[in-house]
Amino acid sequence: MSNAKPKVAFYWCASCGGCEESIVDLAEDILKVVAAVDIVFWPVALDFKKKDVEAMPDGSIAVSFINGAIRLSEQEEMVKMLRRKSGLVVAHGSCAHMGGIPGLGNFWNKETIFRRAYHTTPSTDNPDKVVPLEKTVYDGKELTLPSFFDTVYSLDQVIDVDYYLPGCAPPRDLILNAVTAILEGKLPPKGSVLSPNKSECDTCDRNKTKPEKLSIKEIKRTWEIILDPEKCFLAQGVICMGPATRDGCGHRCINGNMPCRGCFGPTDQVYDQGAKFLSALASILDTNDEKEMDRIVQSIVDPAGTFYRFSLPKSLLGRKRMETIK
């Protein structure tokens, strides 16, 4: 009987939609899923309304897959509601997991972002200096908009999260495994990241090509050299987050001859992906001469943005110091 099927919800917050894609990318396997479960909420694909969810009894949804970071009050409200209605909540994708790309917003705050977005970008034509307001009165009626936070949050900084599906976006087999695990009730301990707990080098073919002593004299950016398709990126002097990034992505970037950017986040025993990678990178710089060190360090453009590309909100510091934002 269909109503015996476990109920599943999909929701998206501050995200690019890639994670929704990742569901669709299950291709024919989606049919298995659809066959096995009963999708009760999926704004992207199906026409449900907020009230439909409100109507559901608490805990009636077996599992909610939520992607995207939390940037708006509305998103906060929705995920809190889904938390109530769901047995399990899975943070789907880097943004939900660690804040992801939207998380880089934490180097600014609402004010600076609005100034930039609505006033100073070259493409902006906004003579009246209009900015979104939470309340506006339009011919007598009051219109509201959700409020915009200063800080972007990962999902688990807002609600309690049971499992994490890492990746931007998570690869299909990871999703399938997760779904099957849930359906079969073969679940790992709560809070687990559903991906191997080793760093990427573990399964990277290029790891073989590492030299005896891994060391870097020059930091290169990917377009500054012709990348050797076989050789370890670090050995080529190109920043690759692989060593500090959880495995399981299937090396989509590396197979495309692009270094890892760290979308899978750190391994369990690491507190702060960026700091860890920074430490590793600095350690293998091949010089004991201070001037030379300064030179190489200078050549690293935007370390914070690079090392925390996906994990800023979840990092130890979380965001830039408010009082220093001008």
Binding site: K198, K210, P243, V270, Y271, A280
Partner: protein
């Protein structure tokens, strides 16, 4: 085997032998000049020409380099051969009248005097080229060669100047048959003619006077025997038969559980302070020079003499040369004060000269030292407190003339003084050995900034290093005098023995470890370990730490990007907890 006749005598020789060898084997003498058994035949002098008949054709050939052939009929004294030989000898007699071998040969061949013009009655060189070939083929130096053509031809080093290539083996002189090349022992080295310096020293010698053991050695680079297999004069003259040409340098490997480093120090080079004129003024000498001077086995038999052999009437001793001086070494060399006092005493005793000590502070710590200082005061040694600014021979007054003038600010009188003396002794300080850093690397230990070896702990472990089982003794660790050195050495020995006795030593418990289940084998850590304790297990795909080698610095742990490495007692979690703890209060 080859059959031929020489002077009608049937002879059998093995293939490849020359006519000359064949003849010699049968006591038929063919005179030679440019031939030497150990050198390639040159066939230049044409004295050994013999008439050779072969297949009905006769010809004059040089015996020295013509191979014997089947059926050769050789006549060594045929009219034709003798004619040519005589003519050549006669001509050589004109070239080198003073060459004895030629004179002898001429007599044998019945030539009283040459009919040709004599250029130089004292000429000895016959241009046989033995020296040139010896230098090329045997010494391998090619330091001399023929230059010019025809009668202008002569032997010289490149451009007639002393040759870099020359190793001073004197093989050329050894091979010269006429004594045209001569050499003599001069200023401790062989000198060939006045203008040609033949190398540094003799092939067989005692390294230094105080060498232990006091035995001569053979410098195989210079020894002719090791080039030619000839000579062996040393063996001939040694009735104890002590000369052994087969002795080889050997590298001896010793397995040791503990090692004591006592690699000593290097004396400060006083030339580095030009103002003191060491190396410019013969009578400004270093402490070691003075030790040599007063040494009974020294050049003066222990008498304290000036360069000109006279006795000094006033001697200055400058303390802290190269020590306690930010320009050179900031540290105190610790021994200078006392040995300077010793010198003062000796000079007093032996030369009855006035002695001036120029000091910053006198550091007479230790048993009996202070007493010794007082004794010197009684002896009338003069002590002037102040750093000497310079030493010159520029006299301002009559009584300064012919003296060395020491300029110093007497900080007790608060005035600049000029002290004229005959001799100045620079109390040079102690410096770390030149190869300290190298040794440090070899033994996995560290040096302090002054590059003396670093002890494990200044108070608690002064003889130990950070490599367990390696101990320090003496001046390689810090400047110290003999009693201290002996004491420390004893301590080091004791520690070493204790360890050897125990047979095992406890490792620092703070070593790092890698959790294989978490390590992805990214190898970031491998290159970081200063003790090469980390190895990447290719097949297993993860890295491992050798507990015995790990000293527990934790660098790898800090660098491990996946947190697979942790340091016992310093785990991330523990330190995080500490940090949190700090802010509870």
């Amino acid at each position: 085997m080859i059959n031929l006749t020489i002077d009608g005598k049937k002879i059998e020789v093995e293939d490849g032998k020359t006519i000359l060898q064949a003849a010699a084997k049968n006591d038929i003498r063919i005179p030679t000049l440019c031939y030497h058994p150990v050198l390639e035949p040159y066939a230049a002098c044409r004295i050994c020409v013999v008439e050779v008949g072969l297949r009905g054709k006769t010809d004059l050939l040089t015996a020295c380099n013509t191979k014997a052939q089947e059926g050769m009929e050789v006549q060594t004294r045929s009219k034709r051969a003798l004619g040519a030989r005589r003519m050549n000898v006669e001509m050589l007699l004109a070239r080198a009248p003073a060459a004895e071998p030629i004179q002898k040969l001429a007599k044998e061949l019945g030539i009283e005097k040459t009919r040709f013009a004599v250029k130089d009655p004292n000429e000895k060189c016959i241009l046989c080229g033995l020296c040139v070939r010896a230098c090329e083929q045997i010494v391998g130096a090619s330091a001399i060669s023929f230059v010019e053509r025809g009668t202008e031809r002569k032997v010289t080093p490149p451009f007639g100047e002393p040759s870099e290539a020359c190793i001073g083996c004197t093989a050329c002189a050894y091979f010269c048959p006429t004594g045209a090349i001569t050499y003599e022992d001069k200023y401790g080295r062989k000198v060939i003619h006045e203008e040609l310096h033949l190398g540094p020293t003799t092939a067989i010698r005692v390294p230094i006077r105080q060498a232990v053991p006091m035995v001569p050695f053979i410098d195989t680079d210079a020894c002719i025997h090791f080039k030619t297999g000839e000579c062996k004069v040393c063996a001939k003259v040694c009735d104890r038969e002590a000369v052994n040409y087969d002795a080889q340098d050997e590298v001896i490997e010793v397995e040791a559980g503990t090692i004591i480093l006592a690699s000593g120090f290097k004396s400060f080079d006083a030339k580095r302070i030009p103002a003191y004129g060491y190396g410019r003024f013969p009578n400004v000498i270093s402490a070691l020079d003075f030790e040599r001077l007063v040494n009974a086995s020294g050049p003066t038999g222990g008498k304290i003499k000036l360069a000109d052999g006279s006795e000094p009437t006033a001697v200055g001793i400058v303390h802290c040369v190269g020590s306690r001086d930010e320009n050179y070494n900031e540290y105190c060399s610790r021994v200078c004060c006392m040995y300077a006092l010793k010198f003062a005493h000796l000079i007093h005793e032996k030369a009855h000269a006035d002695v001036y000590n120029f000091y910053i502070d006198l550091r007479c710590f230790g048993k009996g030292y202070e007493e010794f200082y007082h004794r010197l005061l009684k002896e009338g040694t003069k002590f002037i407190r102040g750093r000497v600014s310079d030493i010159s021979d520029m006299a301002l007054t009559k009584h300064e003339e012919g003296k060395l003038i020491i300029r110093v600010e007497d900080t007790l009188l608060g005035m600049v003084r000029r002290i004229p003396v005959d001799m100045v002794i620079l109390a040079t300080g102690l410096e770390p050995g030149l190869d300290q850093n190298q040794l440090a690397k070899i033994f996995n230990i560290s040096c302090s900034q002054d590059t003396f070896f670093l002890e494990r702990h200044p108070k608690l472990a002064p003889m130990s290093t950070f490599s367990d089982g390696i101990f320090l003794a003496g001046t390689c660790q810090a400047p110290r005098d003999i009693p201290d050195t002996v004491a420390q050495a004893g301590g080091a020995a004791a520690e070493a023995l204790a360890l050897a006795d125990k047979g095992t030593f406890a490792l620092e418990p703070v070593t790092a470890e890698i959790n294989k289940d978490l390590c992805s084998g990214c190898q970031v850590c491998v290159g970081l370990c200063p003790f090469t304790a980390i190895v990447y297990e290719k097949d297993e795909g993860h890295s491992e730490i050798n507990d015995a080698l790990c000293k527990g610095c934790g660098t790898c742990v800090a660098a491990c990007p996946s947190g697979a490495a942790q340091q016992k007692h310093f785990r991330d979690a523990q330190i995080f907890a500490e940090i949190e703890g700090i802010f509870l209060v």
